[in-house]
Amino acid sequence: MDTDLLPEAFVELADTLVAGFDVIDFLHLLTDRSVQVLNASAAGLLLADPRGELRVVAASSEQVRLLELFQLQNDQGPCLDCYRSGQPVSEADLSTAGERWPNFAAIARRAGFAAVQALPMRLRDETIGALNLFRTVPGAFDAADVRVGQALADVATIGLLNERSLRRAEILNEQLQGALNSRVIIEQAKGKLAERLGLDMDQAFAALRRYARARNRGLSDLARAFVDGSEELPGLGPGSPTPGTLPRPGSPEPPRSGRQPPSA
């Protein structure tokens, strides 16, 4: 664990809780900091939808292979076990986890991961989700890592419940659904920007995030404005490709046809 980063990480998270709170930004910050502080290779935050499913709301990388690794844990994996038991779940060596999680272990190893730790997000008696950490080298997360990781998971839960009220359980559910829907907006925005600028989804996400930060806006808010076309967003319009844009596959026809999108 990188203890130097720890105090700053908590201060940063606390600051986010106070001013102009955007829950998606907050959860992304938390997963990023988890990776750094705990010397992990990747992290993801999953929440349990009352419809009965674990869904990713934030991850340290938007690479498809990683996101799928979280998604498939609805059927099998450390997050599912963690969510059901309400206890931390770990595997120090995924090459030996073939019986425990045959499908998950194989896919995780193919993605380059060797160890995994899942920590429950708990509110009183209820587990609402899990913080999922991966490393590319085998070895257990040590006791200090688990303690701090659990503290970060608890901060995530508190962040979802940022007001004191008699309606605590209701507010948590409201926030959870809001966060899940915000995640959908971000996926829609990724698709739209990826298509517009010829980027992959990871690049599109990075571009949206950079844009939001540069203008001091919440990511969910920006993503919604971009998707529903309710605002002109100079810089995200056509004709402003970022360096390293992927070439567009297929025929060399003009990139856009039909109605012009509303932005600059």
Binding site: L166, N181, I185, E187, G191, A194, E195
Partner: protein
């Protein structure tokens, strides 16, 4: 398993619609809410224009009883209440007790008015898929008390069903048309959700949507030059017309092995 729960919801909707003798509509959603979620009444309102979310806009599509009607009227009149808040927040508004102290300051006019009308608890669910927002499902109870986890899950699934039904209704009214695979559109074709014919015969389950479906929807706003609402309708229409699963079409779009031109079909490429 989430899939069988959503299937069960569609079954209830289909059965109720069959009893009425027509395809499933938002009215069936309201009726099934009352029957399965133990609420006293339900109403579905549609937003006035795509994406508009102010309290006080939108019109009532269906409502199960007079108290429900009054609750919608109060919100329209006073421009405050669970419906507007749910749309603005992009999240449900769950108020198990209208008598609670924070409600008076939150809804100074609607709160007391709703109680006078006979409601003790209100729950509003935005009908949304990301940036797609088509309306609100409003529930009320005569007695205070929270929705159980199971009831909350069922309400969310019923809201998902209402979202799809309203999108289709919007589509029919707007004559978006369904691509027939040859570069033309068939404006007589309507997706018949009465038999829950999602692509491949699977009931459409928004809870199980993969990120790719959302990304593909976003991509289609660019490829087709349409709103996000219409992009989603076209995506489903394409999958339906080609008898493919929604997730598979989405994956092809995201991996760029499929591209749709403005007519809704691939421009002479892969199908």
């Amino acid at each position: 398993m989430a899939v069988s729960r959503m299937s069960a919801i569609w079954d209830l909707l289909a059965a109720h619609a069959a009893d009425r003798g027509g395809p499933a509509t938002a009215a069936d959603v309201c009726a099934v809410c009352v029957a399965t979620v133990a609420v006293s009444g339900a109403a579905v309102t549609a937003t006035g224009t795509a994406g508009a979310g102010q309290a006080g806009t939108g019109h009532v599509i269906c409502v199960t009883d007079e108290v429900g009607e009054q609750l919608e009227e109060l919100q329209l009149t006073f421009g405050e209440g669970p419906r507007g808040d749910a749309l603005a927040a992009g999240a449900p508004v769950l108020v198990p007790d209208l008598d609670a102290s924070d409600i008076v300051s939150r809804w100074p006019a609607f709160g007391p008015g709703a109680q006078l009308a006979g409601a003790a608890a209100v729950f509003a669910f935005p009908l949304q898929i990301g940036a797609i927002r088509v309306g609100v499902l409003g529930l009320y109870r005569r007695l205070p008390g929270p929705l159980s986890t199971r009831e909350l899950g069922d309400s969310l699934m019923l809201a998902d069903a209402a979202t799809v039904l309203l999108l289709d209704r919007q589509d029919r009214d707007g004559r978006a048309g369904i691509p027939d695979g040859d570069g033309g559109t068939n404006t007589d074709g309507v997706l018949n959700w009465n038999d829950r014919a999602g692509p491949g015969g699977q009931p459409l389950d928004l809870g199980l949507h993969r990120a790719e479906i959302d990304q593909a929807t976003g991509m289609l706003t660019e490829q087709l030059g349409v709103s996000i609402d219409e992009a989603f309708v076209r995506l489903r229409a394409y999958a339906y017309a080609h008898d493919r699963r929604l997730v598979d079409v989405a994956r092809d779009l995201v991996t760029r092995t499929l591209r749709l031109g403005p007519g809704g079909s691939p421009p002479g490429g892969t199908a």
